[in-house]
């Protein structure tokens, strides 16, 4: 297997006095879909916030060989590591197209912008119909598509998606998962952070199970889906 695209080693982070993540380690390899699953409060969102420098943290984290400790959020974005935050966080009072344009790097040439827009509209045809509509006025599923499309606009190498399925209709979740499978074939690596363990394990190659700020299990997604303990704890079987 190739060298990992993202390596997290012994990551510790928290809010003030309260430590949330304890020596957490994981790897994501190029063009993999990796699921990070766990119940509410396990620290999944905290991990993503730390990786985007929205929280102070200690540990050794590398993206494509660069140490994250010395990289600004700006630089990370430019290197191709993007995040779709929990709750979508669209620019609600801007059109879909403006949201997508804000997903690009500053200084992107006009024809490259056009190409990226067309590619995203190809992935999500509904967004092409809604391009002039205010993002905040769309349905939850459409908003999530817009958020994922915004993340793909810069042609990233790693997309980290937080709770993509939260509050969405199953059909919308399926459509989004299909799109992730498709962009993976185009070389985009995906780290999927999910409470919806069933759909996450269904689409992922490998998975990590997180509990109370620690990784408690890892392995191929299909094996974890068959693991009796995982089934009992997360799949309600």
């Amino acid at each position: 297997m190739n060298a990992p695209l993202l390596t997290v080693k012994n990551l510790r982070a928290g809010y003030g006095e309260m430590q949330v993540l304890y020596d957490l380690s994981l790897d994501v390899h190029p063009a993999e879909i990796v699921a990070l699953v766990g119940s509410n409060g396990a620290g999944k969102t905290t991990l993503l916030r730390a990786l985007s420098h929205l929280l102070p943290w200690q540990g050794d984290v590398r993206f494509d060989g660069h140490s994250l400790q010395s990289l600004s959020p700006n630089r990370l974005f430019a290197l191709g590591m993007v995040q779709v935050p929990e709750g979508r966080q669209l620019f609600d009072r801007m059109s879909v197209e403006e949201n997508l344009l804000l997903g690009t790097l500053a200084g992107t040439a006009r024809d490259a912008l056009r190409r990226n827009l067309e590619r995203c509209y190809g992935l999500f045809p509904i967004l092409a119909k809604r391009r002039k509509q205010l993002a905040g006025n769309m349905s939850g599923g459409e908003q999530q598509m817009c958020a994922v499309a915004r993340a793909l606009m810069s042609g990233p190498r790693l997309v980290m998606i937080d709770e993509m399925s939260l509050g969405l209709a199953p059909v919308a979740v399926d459509a989004l998962l299909d799109t992730l499978r498709l962009v993976r074939t185009q070389g985009v690596t995906v780290l999927l952070v999910e409470q919806d363990v069933h759909s996450a394990l269904h689409v992922a190659d490998r998975a990590y199970v997180m509990e109370s700020g620690r990784i408690v299990r890892e392995g191929p997604a299909s094996e974890l889906a068959d693991d009796p303990e995982v089934q009992r704890a997360y799949l309600g079987l």
Binding site: P85, Q89, R93, M94, A106, S154
Partner: protein, 286 residues
């Protein structure tokens, strides 16, 4: 005819009011700071234009870009050095610090410029022309045209340029803006600099149509505040409407009730708007 003339005067004044309020509304909307020193920056812009006119013998309208540039640099530095300390802090802290700035700037202006009244009087200051029986003062008309032009220009900048879009992005969703390569600290400083640059131009124009002294700032901050409340913070066009509305209301008050009552009218309107439609006449306020 008198009424038409008064309405015209009100509209011309209102355009200038709109430009004064524009910087305040922009900073308020993006940084969530009600900049109580906004009027002091308008005053500095007026003095910058005055000195460029009297010392460098530059036409006051040609001096405006230099006044704007100077005020941009000053505003950028003030945001980076001082206001950054209270950004996203409680409203009270930002009010206190900008009030303090206002006091300091006014005092320094008094120290360096003296308390004398000054006017910017280019040779064409008294020129009027006739428009179907109405008298149109040339300087007022030029000030109006520049004010409206700049407001529309800012609108286009915010809507259609990448930096303008980044400014709106920071005001709408800070987290997402940070995740997508926008540096809020830079946006805040640029936005505040833009706000003070607009104040600088407004001050220069104010100096061509009115007398200036170091103390004009406070009242102009208050008027800008009224206009921002009326027009909302979302949209520079709302500020134009608010400015014209206030200009006309003041002119009509001066005609029918008395010139000393114009402030009663403007702040009466503020109270009415806050009671009847606290979101502003057009769209959202903070």
């Amino acid at each position: 005819m008198l009424l038409a003339q008064v309405l015209l005067n009100g509209l011309l004044l209102g355009g200038l009011y709109a430009l004064m309020a524009l910087g305040l509304a922009l900073v308020w909307g993006v940084l969530n700071i009600v900049n109580l020193s906004h009027g002091a920056f308008i005053m500095l812009g007026a003095y910058a234009t005055y000195f460029l006119f009297t010392q460098a013998h530059l036409d006051p309208f040609l001096a405006l870009p230099f006044a704007a540039l100077a005020l941009f640099v000053l505003g950028y530095a003030v945001q980076r050095g001082i206001l950054n300390l209270v950004i996203r802090g409680p409203m009270f802290n930002t009010l206190l610090i900008t009030f303090g700035l206002e006091v300091v700037i006014t005092f320094l202006a008094q120290l360096f410029f003296s308390a004398d009244f000054r006017t910017i009087n280019p040779v064409y200051a008294g020129t009027n022309f006739d428009l179907g029986g109405l008298t149109v003062p040339q300087v007022q008309l030029m000030a109006f045209a520049i004010a409206i032009g700049l407001t529309l220009g800012l609108w286009a900048f915010l809507l259609h340029s990448r930096p303008g879009r980044s400014i709106r992005a920071v005001s709408q969703n800070l987290l997402a803006a940070q995740l997508y390569g926008i540096e809020p600290r830079r946006i805040y400083a640029v936005t505040f600099g833009l706000g003070t640059a607009l104040a600088g131009v407004a001050g220069g124009l104010y100096g061509t149509v009115s007398q200036i002294n170091p103390y004009i700032g406070t009242a102009l901050t208050a008027k800008s505040f009224v206009i921002a409340i009326i027009g909302g913070l979302d949209n520079p066009l709302g500020v134009i409407v608010g400015g014209l509305f206030l200009g006309v209301a003041e002119s009509l008050t001066a005609l029918y009730i008395g010139p000393t009552y114009t402030d009663v009218a403007s702040f009466g309107i503020l109270v009415l708007v806050l009671i009847v439609k606290p979101t502003g006449l057009l769209g959202r306020t903070a």
